[in-house]
Symmetry: D2
Subunit: 102 residues, 4 copies
């Protein structure tokens, strides 16, 4: 597969973290299929809502690992390279934290 | 399939809402598979994190529909039946809102 | 003081809850003043951020009590009165939960 | 005033950001007093809840500025100094993002 230009790559992903995240995301997929089953069986809404919040929690755990990896590799490398690149990175990080990561 | 005792049922689920929620959850499953692909291809962490927040947003849309349905049917019926049942329902709703639904 | 037309009133506020909420909000005001002191003394950002999250938590505790009161009085009364008023209330509640209460 | 040992200091706070944050926090204090007034006047719960979410939003704006400053100064300096200090900083940042900053 050719890398499309918009497909930016991560640098220095720890293979353990990658494996752990993939495992988590596969469990996550199962949780979402579980939600479909609950909805198609007309399960009690409050129970489905509780299960939805478990999926949010699991996604946040993946996000947390990715964020730590991002700080350790991409962010650290930008911060160490130049004031300009560091500044762009701070803005990106703050956006991720306050806009996206919830 | 026999209903296990812990499987509480929803009452009065609108078939349109049910269909819409199932459609959304299937798209959601696709998004989670997309995340697995991004992680296995070492895509840039910030892009994966942005995609994770799209999944959170999509799940919240499902939660919102379920919550509205829950209010309209289960909650309204409890609130109309007795002070005791209404009180139990208020506690459940407040818990769902502040503990689970984020 | 004359009530301006846009000032909608709560019905049936429990005096204990009201007193507890006022007490909490006064403590909250103190917390915000504490934040000002921390910022003017150039306290470590992470410590200020941790304190900010304590203020969020305290505000959520007030919100939770208000929401329970809202469900018990205004919402219950709308739900018991007519299908139309109930429907307007469900929309308002879902908006409060998913848009405002975070 | 003597600095107590637990009072860690921020380094390199931009005076403009500091002034802006103090201004925001004073407005914030006014908002919390406005909430007290609303509660003591028995204002409609949904209106108070909407106002509470405005306070959350305003606090997040302060947090955002502090976080950017934290990244630019304390975090960047730790990341540039040693692998060990950088590692401690990544953990602190991820904690702030996922545990505290909401």
């Amino acid at each position: 597969m050719t890398t499309r230009p918009q497909e930016r790559k991560a640098v220095g992903v720890d293979p353990d973290i990658k494996a752990r995240n993939l495992k988590r995301l596969r469990r996550n997929e199962g949780q979402v299929r579980g939600l479909q089953k609950m909805v198609s069986e007309d399960r009690y809404c409050a129970d489905v809502l509780t299960q939805i919040s478990a999926v949010h929690e699991a996604l946040r755990a993946v996000g947390r690992e990715l964020m730590r990896n991002h700080l350790k590799h991409c962010a650290a490398s930008a911060i160490r390279s130049s004031e300009h690149e560091a500044g762009v990175m701070y803005d990106e990080l703050v956006d991720l934290m306050y806009t996206h990561s919830r």
